[in-house]
């Protein structure tokens, strides 16, 4: 079994380059959600500090009373493939989603040293338990597709593609 690593977001390059495809990680710290609509809106000017950041491709269900956030699982990452290389160039270090990535994304990940993590699709209630704080950071008009700032504790993920281009889906 690959060993479990605890990583802190925002990520520094040393941590990123130490991760290998197949590693299981627990993510602590602050991450941001963004999917199709938000990516279209911000282009190369994300409404959060991009250097070292992790983007989670997700849009939660509405937060029920008394909860920190609704269910929050990953969406299909490949839909964001066209946006990712430019963000990686700006210093994006981690992406969390489900499914494969394009050749262009993997090339940019190697060039700018970044990592792609997957979390299981459809375990959104369980994943919500790892969110300790949440707020809408930008674009409230996008509803569930707004950019959320999330504090996460031990969010379980698997390194699917590492900064050397090793790829679990290949």
């Amino acid at each position: 079994m690959p060993k479990l690593k605890i990583i802190q977001a925002p990520l520094d390059t040393k941590i990123v380059t130490s991760l290998r495809a197949g590693d299981k990680v627990l993510i602590n710290g602050t991450i941001f959600t963004a999917r199709d609509a938000a990516h279209l809106k911000f282009g190369t000017k994300p409404p959060f500090p991009i250097k070292g950041s992790i983007i989670y491709y997700a849009s939660p269900t509405p937060t029920p009373p008394g909860k920190i956030i609704g269910s929050i699982g990953p969406t299909t990452s490949s839909r964001m493939d066209t946006f990712s290389p430019a963000l990686l160039k700006l210093g994006l270090k981690g992406m969390i989603g489900k499914g494969e990535r394009s050749r262009e994304v993997i090339a940019a990940m190697k060039k700018y040293k970044a990592v792609y993590l997957v979390v299981p699709g459809g375990v959104a209630a369980l994943l919500s338990k790892h969110v300790t704080k949440s707020k809408v950071r930008a674009y409230p008009e996008l509803g569930s597709e707004a950019v959320y700032e999330l504090s996460v504790r031990e969010l379980p993920a698997i390194v699917a593609i590492d900064s050397k281009g090793n790829n679990l889906f290949a």
């Binding site: 269900t61 609704g70 269910s71 997957v118 299981p120 459809g122 959104a124 889906f169």
Partner: protein, 281 residues
């Protein structure tokens, strides 16, 4: 003639929305537990365990199983001796979906105009409604809340009638391969064969409504389902596409008569978060 209040239909649909999204059905749980015992990949086993744990949390805390709470697809079987009073069927169903998604804190994932992504209808309507007249004085409502990721990986092909079963198999297998990790395996694979262009897609969707683990009543089709499931589970796609022996939980095939010059085949892909519930009025 039995009278059923439209209001009753709306409240039933509302309750089904909440139930379907938070309470994973027994047939799926049983199939996942069976798969866990058989799965050879350690990461595959871990993911199946997470899926099962997620189902427990969702049920206990009334949280949606998946954040994509789907398109509401409603199958209504209306007994010929039923009369719906004080309202219209379509309006009642949509009212139920609207109430269910708003009060249940479910995600609203419908845009009014497919080319305008800013046109969210804000209550997950309109539902896709399939209604059918049947004998009797009962009204049966089935609700399938279907996520976009798996639906996007579905495929339909109009084959020549001379096509061999092997070619049909290849099309089904290829569709599952293309679905890969994006469709959230372990999958349920609904296959429609026959009818026509529009009919075969609905047939494939209806194949998904048959409980997982129950095979087709025809021995020939049942054998075919088992053979396809074995092949799919040897593709090594596995849970979440990270390898393993659990790529699908079931292959359900439904067949219908068709035109002499046609052989339509549709494959409707469903994720492991299969949210289907029924009620009878």
């Amino acid at each position: 003639m039995r009278e059923i209040e439209a209001k009753k239909i709306a409240s039933t649909v509302r309750d089904l929305c909440l139930e379907a999204n938070t309470n994973l059905s027994e047939d799926i749980l049983a199939a996942l537990n069976k798969a866990l015992a058989r799965e050879t990949s350690p990461s595959g086993r871990e993911i199946i365990r997470q899926i099962l744990q997620n189902a427990v949390i969702a049920k206990k805390e009334k949280l949606p199983i998946c954040q994509d709470t789907g398109t509401a697809i409603v199958f209504v079987e209306i007994g010929q001796d039923v009369r719906i009073i004080n309202g219209l069927l379509v309006e009642a169903v949509n009212e139920g979906v609207s109430q269910g998604y708003r009060t249940g804190f479910l995600r609203k994932s419908q845009v009014a105009d497919p080319l305008d992504r800013n046109s969210n209808t804000c209550d997950n309507t309109p539902a896709i409604i399939h209604s059918e007249l049947v004998p009797g004085e009962e009204l049966k409502i089935g609700l399938l809340c279907k996520g976009g990721g798996a639906e996007n990986r579905s495929a339909l092909k109009m084959f020549n009638p001379a096509t061999s079963q092997t070619e049909i198999d290849e099309f089904i297998i290829q569709t599952v391969k293309n679905a890969g990790p994006n469709a959230c395996p372990p999958l349920i694979v609904g296959v429609g064969i026959g009818s026509n262009f529009d009919g075969v897609a609905l047939l494939a969707k209806k194949a998904l409504l048959r409980p997982v683990g129950r095979h087709a009543s025809s021995p020939f089709t049942a054998k075919w389902e088992k053979a396809l499931l074995n092949r799919i589970n040897s593709l090594n796609v596995g849970p979440m596409g990270l390898g393993g022996t659990t790529t699908a939980l079931a292959v359900n095939i439904e067949k219908r008569p068709c035109h002499i010059s046609s052989l339509p085949v549709a494959v409707n892909i469903e994720c492991h978060a299969h949210r289907y519930k029924e009620a009878r009025l």
